[in-house]
């Protein structure tokens, strides 16, 4: 059972799925770091991304142009995120009520139910697959679906672009500053609600991108965002809420732990290993691996 080949295969498969989990967690943690709210409807933005990808590939562009459909799907989710922030969240954030987090929670939970019901209503409960003509690729000793390797590569590219945006652009400067002091940026003359809008758009676009990338691998159906959201939150707790490097490291860590747990302990409890890690982290370091104790002044 414990052959070297199986260990290497398990390692590769865990790492690759972990990077995709991280994409989801990054969206959650990024929105939190800017807006100090948790977007509970994150999985539904993943779901919208996957439906967009399916619709574009199956109805409009054809399977050969899947790579073009991916940025279009992500951009679609970005635009939808802007609309959601503008119509539902901005009114909450304009006046500073005491219970802003609670309002945001209620609004995003309602959004979750609405979007899920809409998907079932519009496209039915059945699952779809945009299909993929990509050949199976050997990653070391592990054969992997071309679509999954492509998803991994796209995810890495997106992560690099995200980093460059944060590090070297004016928007990045404003986003980083907002994550540290919302009052400070307003004093400096930055429209903090405008920053929120961009941040929410980017955050949900990361989820939408994951949805579009994983559509051919994990299928398209109304609740397909659920499991990735759960993983996303696990990662956020493990890595530390608001920590971007934490999300990346914890994402890969979760992928590895699940893969190895399933392969070498008991495959029936694959979902449990991540939770066990969450509990362990909460007991030992409640702020997560790279989380900060409090906000910087």
């Amino acid at each position: 059972m414990f052959s070297t080949e199986l260990v290497v295969q398990t390692f590769i498969s865990g790492t690759m799925i972990g990077v995709l989990y991280a994409l989801m967690a990054l969206g959650i943690t990024f929105i939190y770091s800017i807006m100090r709210m948790i977007n509970w409807a994150m999985g539904e933005f993943y779901m919208i991304g996957s439906y967009l990808q399916y619709a574009l590939v199956a109805l409009l562009l054809g399977p050969d142009l899947w790579w073009l459909a991916i940025p279009i799907s992500a951009a679609g989710v970005f635009l939808f995120g802007l609309v959601v922030q503008w119509s539902l969240l901005k009114p909450i954030f304009r006046k500073p009520p005491e219970a802003r987090d609670d309002y945001a929670t209620v609004v995003t939970l309602a959004l979750l139910l609405l979007l899920r019901s809409l998907a079932t209503g519009l496209a039915g409960p059945n699952q779809f697959s945009p299909g993929s003509d990509l050949p199976v690729v050997m990653v070391g000793p592990l054969p992997m679906a071309g679509a999954r390797v492509a998803a991994f590569v796209f995810a890495l590219v997106a992560l690099v672009l995200f980093y460059l945006l944060l590090r070297y652009s004016w928007y990045g400067l404003a986003l980083r500053a907002t994550s540290q002091s919302r009052v400070g940026v307003q004093t400096a003359g930055i429209d903090v609600l405008g920053v929120d809008r961009i941040a929410f758009g980017i955050g949900v676009a990361l989820a939408g991108l994951a949805g579009a990338l994983l559509a051919p691998v994990f299928l398209v159906y109304p609740t397909n965002g659920l499991i990735t959201t759960v993983k996303g939150f696990e990662i956020v707790v493990i890595g530390g809420l608001g920590s971007i490097p934490g999300a990346l490291i914890a994402g890969v860590l979760l992928g590895l732990i699940e893969s190895f747990g399933a392969a070498f302990i008991d495959s029936a409890y694959q979902n449990i290993y991540g939770f066990a890690l969450v509990l362990l982290i909460l007991a030992l370091k409640p702020t997560g691996l790279l989380g900060e104790r409090g906000r910087e002044a």
Binding site: A174, Q180, V185, T187, A188, G189, V192
Partner: protein
């Protein structure tokens, strides 16, 4: 010519507390006005009302004759009214240069020119040059105050509202901050409203001071004039000058 900064009968109530009670204030162009008063007199509330942190219950604020009613904090900042906080609101995980850059980009316009050059000027003026790439959270309290001041000066504003810029800072840095205020005031004709407890500095900087007590304006005049008023001595200066 309209006044640089004017508050007209401002009223603000927090629950049962009347934090600003009919506050009218008129600051002329190029003036450095001192705002003094005992703790809890409503000085910070006034600053918050002026800079858009809280909307007033009644009354109005005018900047260069223009009403600020309904303006968000960032809009007021872009109009040229810049504030500093008692507790510095810097971006702790960002470097000194990045902090300066953020303030520059947010308020830049066609006339502001090159940001990098301005950062160089500010680093030289504050002598923070060697710390340009240090994270702001690693600076000392005085260095942070200096940096916050420098952020405000990255793009010249027309009016500065400084809330306790000298509290808890060593004398060398105090002098540096005073120099910066005087420099910007002389060169750009900028107007200042400075909240402070340090009477020596207030005397040095401000021709006129406004005294606030219990949410209202108690007196106005030169520091020596107001210091002679019995009400001010009883309520504040008597204790402060002991």
């Amino acid at each position: 010519m309209p006044l640089a900064l004017e508050t007209i009968r401002l009223v603000k109530r927090f629950g049962g507390l009347l934090a600003a009670n009919d506050v009218s204030l008129a600051v002329e162009h190029g003036e450095i006005r001192g705002l003094i008063g005992p703790n809890g007199a409503g000085k910070t509330t006034l600053v918050n009302l002026v800079t858009g942190v809280h909307p007033p219950d009644m009354g109005d604020v005018k900047l260069g004759g223009q009403s600020l009613r309904g303006c968000a904090m960032h809009e007021i900042a872009r109009l040229g009214l810049v504030r500093s906080f008692q507790v510095t609101r810097l971006f702790g995980n960002m470097t000194v240069s990045e902090n300066l850059m953020t303030s520059f980009f947010a308020r830049r316009n066609r006339a502001t020119g090159d940001g990098t050059k301005q950062i160089g000027n500010m680093l030289e003026l504050t002598r923070l040059g060697p710390l340009a790439d240090t994270q702001a959270k690693k600076l000392s309290g005085g260095q942070r105050a200096l940096l916050q001041m420098a952020c405000g000066f990255m793009v010249p504003g027309s009016c500065y509202v400084l809330d306790e810029p000298f509290a808890g800072i060593n004398p060398v840095i105090k002098d540096a901050i005073i120099d910066m205020i005087v420099d910007v005031n002389r060169r750009h004709g900028a107007t200042f409203l400075v909240v402070s407890h340090e009477m020596a500095i207030v005397r040095r900087l401000c021709r006129q001071v406004t005294v606030m007590m219990e949410g209202r304006v108690a007196a106005q005049g030169t520091l020596d004039e107001v210091a002679r008023l019995p009400e001010v001595i009883a309520g504040y200066l008597g204790k402060a000058l002991e």
